[in-house]
């Protein structure tokens, strides 16, 4: 059993090592539904206050809408919803983290709605554990690793997977046609 659990983790770890060198990397941490998450800082473009979001009709719930980011229209994803939870309530500290992704030669800016942004942390590679094969309550391929910070685990997200433009586009299509058929 131990082997089965270990083998997917063991195979994942070298891949991440190849992607980043052994020097400690910086991560932006934020809270979402009381839990602590982190994303690699290189993906983060900026953090803005939660303002007016224009809803897009006929879209699945995790797509909160679009915002005007200095003239560019940027989609905003409700991360909690994306992980299968409830939609995020807007509170005083709600923020949108603008993440820049490069997928298929194109750069995409995507906003991620979070409850509160905490701090920028340095986590050494040795402090990062492979993700558990179950129990995190979110899809394991969304997790790139578990960082140990002050004796607690922080879920480090694989943003390329979480915000995969391809996958989201597929989901929106599915939800759209389901709408038509169901109605």
């Amino acid at each position: 059993m131990g082997q089965i659990v270990q083998s997917p983790g063991g195979s994942r770890a070298p891949a991440t090592v190849a992607a980043v060198d052994s020097t400690p990397q910086q991560y932006l941490t934020f809270t979402l539904g009381g839990e602590m998450f982190a994303v690699a800082i290189l993906n983060v473009k900026e953090i803005i206050e939660f303002g007016t979001v224009t809803e897009i009709p006929m879209m699945p719930g995790f797509i909160r809408g679009v915002i005007n980011l200095r003239g560019a229209v940027v989609p905003v994803i409700d991360l909690s919803c994306r992980f299968g939870g409830k939609s995020t309530e807007v509170a005083r500290r709600t923020c949108i983290v603008i993440v820049e992704l490069e997928q298929g030669d194109q750069k995409h800016d995507i906003g991620v709605m979070v409850d509160a942004v905490s701090e920028v942390l340095e986590i050494a590679r040795s402090e990062i554990e492979p993700p558990p094969s179950f129990g995190a309550k979110i899809r394991t391929d969304f997790i790139s690793g578990m960082g140990k910070v002050n004796g607690k685990f922080v879920i480090i997200l694989d943003v390329a997977r979480v915000l995969s433009v391809e996958e989201i586009a597929m989901l929106t299509q599915a939800s759209d046609s389901a709408n038509v058929e169901a109605a």
């Binding site: 007016t52 224009t54 809803e55 897009i56 009709p57 006929m58 879209m59 797509i63 809408g65 679009v66 915002i67 005007n68 003239g71 560019a72 229209v73 940027v74 989609p75 194109q106 995409h108 800016d109 995507i110 433009v165 989201i168 586009a169 597929m170 929106t172 299509q173 759209d176 038509v180 058929e181 109605a183």
Partner: protein
Amino acid sequence: MDELTSVFIQEGREQLQAMESGLLELEQQPDNHDNINGIFRAAHTIKGASGVIECHFIEAFMHKVENVLDRLRNGEIHVTGDLTGLLLRSCDHLSHLMDVLEAAAAEPPEDVRHAGDALQLELAAYTAEAAGASAGSMIEAEADVEASGGGVVNTDSWHISVRFGPHMLRGGMDPLSFLRYLASLGEILALETIPDAMPGAAEMDPESCYLGFEIRLQTRSSKADIERVFDFCRDDCELRILAPNSKLAEYVKLIRELPEDDMRLGEMLVRCGALTQSELEEGLFSQQQGKLPGDGDPLAPQLGEILVDHKVVHKEVVEAAVSKQAQVNEKKAVEARLIRVQADKLDQLIDLVGELVIAGASANLLAQRSKQSELVESTSILSRLVENIRDSALQLRMVQIGETFTRFNRVVRDVAKELGKEIDLVITGAETELDKSVVEKIGDPLMHLVRNSMDHGIEPADVRESRGKPRRGTVELNAYHDSGSIVIEVVDDGGGLPRDKILQKAIDKGLVQPTQVLSDQEIINLIWEPGFSTAEQVTNLSGRGVGMDVVRRNIQGLRGSCEVASVEGAGSTFTIRLPLTLAIIDGFLVGVGRSSYVIPLDMVIECIELKENSADRDFLNLRGEVLPFVRLREMFEVEGEHPARENIVVVQYAGQKAGIVVDQLLGEFQTVIKPLSSIFRHLRGIGGSTILGTGEVALILDVQTLVQRNVRKEERDMAANNAVARSTTQN
């Protein structure tokens, strides 16, 4: 790549296009002389320019092409299908060569070179047979000159004396490239450099040109052609050209007129083989003799000669001068009307104008809120100006679709030959304008459609005849404007889409269930499904089954739509609708719940109040017409109370009218289209987004897909209800 080369490539491609369209026309009207001259001129210009930039592989190839065209122009050979085919293939090859040049390669790659060699052989076949005949005509032409007296120098080559002016090098011209180009006309038998004008090293200005050349050239080109070699430096050099078999006296005259010492020049001529020593002596001697007595008698024949000489020179020179003048004028006129601008700069301008429009809208809003009438007035003037700037900026990017269409002349010709069918292309509405960014992307989808029509649509000539149709099939390309969009139609008078076959195929491929009942239009629409192809045989033109869905995807990517209508046995019509521009439109702003939406203003006909209506019927009586409508509130699942007054915006699209029920009408709005992230690419009913004066994002409604969506939804509802009804009756 230096600037000269890039200019050459750009202009060369234009000439190439002119040549190609000329050749296509030539097939229709083989006797149109202006056209043949036009083709020749285009080929010649390319050759000349390639000589100047020293691109020898193009120059050498064009030389061969030009030879054939020259014979065509002189009526020595006649227009045949093979010949135009060969010339068109030469055009293609030339286009490849330009690609090579553009890639900054020194030599074309192996396969291109082989293709070129093969073409040159074919071209040579058209020139070789004529060599004898043309020599004959040349002698004939000379014959009457000969008759006017004077000894004839026995050479069969041209003699060219050129003294380049001192400003040549400073003007950016290299004498060497002229000589190289000259060599492309024929063979330089001998060449002597005349460095006599060269001063001592101390006085010499290294930027001045002091050189002259005596050249003996064997060529079949005319005097005008040789003169044209030196077109670029005509004003700055002394040029004398003596025809083959010129009279001795002309050589003597040449010797006398040129600044160099007579004897020395004579020697030069002897050395370069234009004259023999005895001829020279005889000439100079006779001249001196004639001069010594001083009376008019011996001069008489000379004068006569000069006259003849003049006559000969006159005609050619005047012709050349006139044609040159016309060319210069033509070029000047075109240059005065056109400025070349990089497309990026234009795009940048449009982007800025877009930002200006948004900023203007926000200033307007603030002014209105401030309730200062003067401020409101000044911002309204400002926004009117911004609107004008927007329109002119967008106009800059508008191009006529004709250029895209005319490319298809060639495609239709080639494909028809390949398929062994007889097909004409009819183009209408070539002057219809649309945004350049749209034009660039429409070429490929159109190509698919046209090829499809030719391959699958038009029947072979025999089949057509047996069906009582004219042997020649017709493919039409039409373009016209219709309520804020451009419509492009590809029409063929072929067999139409075979419904049974399509249905059978769709069932085989599992696209539809055998029990499904489909309307005719639904069956036809199956061709847009991915992986659908009806051709029993895969040809290399179409029939790979990727065509139609790719076409549809490309067009939808441009915010457009495509439809097909077909009458079996009579042909089919593919209709593409595209927005005129992808940048800024006039919009009509409406509010639903807390959100705002924009409807393209060109589609809006009127707005009316939605009166108390029986709630479950979604149509109303619009002055006797039935007007179906869509409730945005329901469609977008907007929560909250319906407002006291709801409005209907009546829109028209593709000849259909529909109503859209909204809460508020907010008026006209200049809409800068901001594309939505590709996350939303499957979203139907929303065409894009824009930014309001308040900084909020508003969505642009795609009226057509919105209505279609509703239609589909209702159809499914009905089907479901029917199924339920059926099952209950059965029970």
